[in-house]
Amino acid sequence: MFLRQREPLSFERSVPGKRGMDLPKLDVPAAQDTRPAHLRRTGFDALPELSEVEVIRHFTRLSKWNYGVDDGMYPLGSCTMKHNPRLNEKVAGMPGFTDSHPMAPDALVQGNLETLYTLQEWLKEITGLPGVTLQPSAGAAGELTGVMLIRAYHVSKGAKRRVILIPDSGHGTNPATAAMAGYEVVELPSGPDGTISFEDVTDPVNGKVRKGLKTLVTELGSEIAGAMITNPNTIGVFEYRFKEISDLLHSVDALVYMDGANMNALVGVARPGDFGVDVMHLNLHKTMSTPHGGGGPGAGPVCCGANLMPFLPVPVVVRDTVKVGEGEVPRHSYRMDWDRPQSIGKVHTYYGNFGILVRALTYCLSHGSDGLKAATLRAIVNANYIRTRLKGAYALHIDSPTLHEVVFSDSNQAKHDVHTLDIAKRLIDHGYHPPTIYFPMIVPGALMIEPTESESKEELDAFCDAMLTIAKEAEENPDLLHQAPTLAPLRRLDETTAARKPVLRWTKA
């Protein structure tokens, strides 16, 4: 996997006169220079001069310093690192899709519109919610769209509400999103079982009382615009009182946003629209396996109830039935509906990360209703298998069956002065990408493992064996873990100094 040789920055290898691109012969007169003198491009300071072979070797060598899903299990909790089918890549690369222009008239892009419409229909059935926008480019963009829908709903009723409730176990994007949408965040405490607490919670250490859901709803009432709740939550447990939470919030006309990051545990098994959710986002790069691409592009479609549909971003893709003669099969045409006076407006320049949406539809068609449900169940079985095998060696935050992921803490290892970071780095020496660490924040030294449905028993066993070996190493030779990773090309980079004296680009010496 790892290439041992160093690959310098490309800029250091640049040699004047080398070319990685030949220009076509110019078949029109050369451009007249109409630019004002001070607006003429002078030069570049960093763009390297390299041949194609050197560029390809550079990026091939760099790639070998990455770990990918095809290398093996990628147990990042909450990230749903599942297999990326190659068909999806091939389909997204079809020239009929890639060459199509976003400003082309609807009649010329019927294939794209049908693709979007069909994906919308799948997401509606999967979530049980009747409204969909595919525009948001990522989960966080979906959250922001969803919260803006909530805001538009209250504004339409003439009410300005100021508060969004967010559990302390939520993703950091939730409070950041609420702030970007102009709201104040009030934290909901988790109870001992990791789910949202209805009652006030007293901190066992400092004795501070944190107000539970009931108190907050009573005190804040119509100040609450809504709540953003991850379900299943970040410890992999279904918020079993979700419907009660939803009813309580609805009693003050506050709406319920569901962060769908963990939807891989629910597809085909439970539908948010059926248990009290008003609006939610899906991470297609998680649930529908569109590739993570080293950090993106993703897609974060938003699904909502009828009460929020008037506010969906423009345009909405709609289907018209073309009139046909009696007894003939009805034909359809598709169009962008821009005429939506209550819409919050546009949230993406065009229609979202279309190429990612194509991959997601391909995923859906490949899996079908049966495959989607089978994937959910297998993801849950895999997480529980890991829970069962590692339980004892690693401390469980909550010892009950989990859904798609399982969260351990480092409390067993801490006795030997071995901590979560050491365990994570040692996993690299054993050939694995580490799990998500130190999240959720409600679990001290959290190790959050999500195997997904893509792992075979053989792969799960190999990973569990590695984790068990590490637990033993922690007891017998903790220094081995403190030194880890020893087999990676680099070892424990100094992030503190990097942030204090940032070097964020190369400059000529």
């Binding site: 491009r41 966080a140 803006m148 098994v269 080293g294 971003p313 407006g345 942030a499």
Partner: protein, 434 residues
């Protein structure tokens, strides 16, 4: 199901180890009332060839063209073959965000190089690992400008900005009662200096100007910078066609304090508008206010140089509701395409492509003006897009173009009613005719 590594004996072994009779037993934590008591009302799974044919059928329902003259923020430039080949490597496209630097140096070094080149193109000092697209990059730039210019609550946007960027800005400003977004009009196709001066005040945090603007015209940033800086505001240049950086001077060198926009032109296809590549570059003094992921250099335990995600104290997973933005991803793979493109093009390639774009646009404009009913409207220097007025029946002209397999320019009337019957065309860099 071909993607699930499932077999009766292994499934049994997994369940036996867990100690449950079947997978359903593990769903006990979901209340019965919340469970779906039927199968999803969707087709069942499809074989690879079935799905491939179905999706190809959809792709083929789109009209294909010999040449597209529709630019307007999405450009159909030629893409070198090396790009698709490179990004098809699983190490690039299946990997996650590089949170564990020891096992993600490939992605981290690529982003560091990409950041270097975006700074080079824009003439600014700090950028991030990319943003979603041009419109959302404008939002992040505007919100950042308000943070930087404390106690100033107004952002002026030129009417020359891409109309969809303006729409996205409006959507994102709407929730903030304390913030104002005010449009500055156009005169002769560029930002109206008199209108700008009338609207500048001590409340203005930033002024956003297209460079070149949506009509293809170049704005004189240096001239605009004077009154803007005199009023204590920041000048933000917005570029929707990154090839322009090979033709016009880097915005940071002619007065822009921030540069943002869309860089899909660098190695990407139009893709019906996404995934695209938003960028935002700023001055060093403002680096701790930039949103999004940033990569920096670091030393490891052995003193070797490597790369890490840095300045994370700005970000949502640490700062939560006080973060500079909610963004927690970037357009990683699209940024990689752009990075490889810039490496292949080099300085001469980028300047050469830009010069060819300018030449072809000028030639096309001249030839179009030979047609009856076609009139020149603007005199401002342009790059590879321009506006003409067609006094005939544009719908009929569009029809005629489609018959010749040409996608004609945009009817500007929809976005600029004041220019009714004008249209803009954007030739692409490759030879339009087969």
């Amino acid at each position: 199901m071909r993607y699930l590594p499932s077999s009766p004996s292994e499934d049994r072994a997994l369940l036996d180890t867990i100690g449950v009779p079947d997978a359903e037993a593990l769903l006990a934590g979901i209340p019965a009332a919340a469970r779906l008591k039927r199968e999803l009302d969707l087709p069942t799974h499809g074989a690879e060839q079935e799905v491939a044919w179905q999706m190809m059928g959809l792709a083929n329902k789109n009209m294909r063209f010999c040449a597209q003259f529709l630019g307007a923020g999405a450009y159909d430039h030629f893409v070198p073959s090396a790009i698709d080949a490179m990004i098809s490597r699983q190490e690039w496209f299946t990997a996650y965000t590089p949170y564990q630097p020891e096992i993600s140096q490939g992605t981290l070094q690529h982003i560091f190089e990409y950041q270097t080149l975006i700074c080079d193109l824009t003439g600014l000092e700090v950028t991030n690992a990319s943003l979603y697209d041009g419109g959302t990059a404008c939002v992040e730039a505007a919100l950042m400008a308000v943070r930087v210019a404390k106690k100033r609550n107004t952002v002026l946007i030129s009417r020359g900005l891409h109309p969809m960027y303006r729409e996205v800005l409006k959507t994102n400003f709407a929730p903030h009662d304390d913030l104002k977004l005010v449009e500055v009009g156009l005169k002769d196709g560029v930002t109206d200096l008199a209108d700008l001066q009338a609207k500048l005040s001590s409340d203005v945090a930033a002024v956003m100007v297209g460079y070149p603007n949506f009509l293809g015209a170049v704005e004189d940033l240096a001239a605009l910078a004077e009154p803007i800086h005199a009023a204590g505001a920041l000048l933000v240049s917005v570029t929707q066609e990154a090839f322009a950086f090979g033709w016009f001077e880097a915005p940071g060198k002619v007065g822009a304090d921030m540069a943002c926009g869309e860089a899909m032109s660098l190695g990407n296809k139009p893709n019906f508008g996404g995934p695209f590549l938003g960028f935002l570059a700023v001055k060093d003094a403002h680096k701790r206010e930039i949103p999004g992921r940033v990569v920096g250099q670091a030393k490891d335990l052995n003193g070797q140089t490597g790369y890490v995600l840095t300045l994370t104290a700005r970000e949502q997973h640490i700062r939560r509701d006080k973060a500079t933005s909610n963004i927690c991803s970037n357009q990683g793979l699209v940024a990689l395409r752009a990075n490889i493109f810039m490496h292949l093009a080099g300085p001469e390639g980028l300047k050469g492509l830009a010069a060819q774009n300018a030449a072809k646009a000028q030639y096309l404009r001249q030839r179009l003006l030979e047609l009856p009913d076609m009139e020149a409207v603007l005199d401002a220097p342009f790059f590879n897009e321009f506006v003409l007025r067609y006094t005939g029946d544009y719908a009929a002209l569009q029809e005629a173009c489609l018959k010749e397999s040409l996608l004609p320019g945009l009817d500007l009337g929809r976005f600029y009613p004041e220019t009714r019957a004008a249209s803009s065309g954007a030739p692409r860099s490759s030879t339009p005719a087969r």
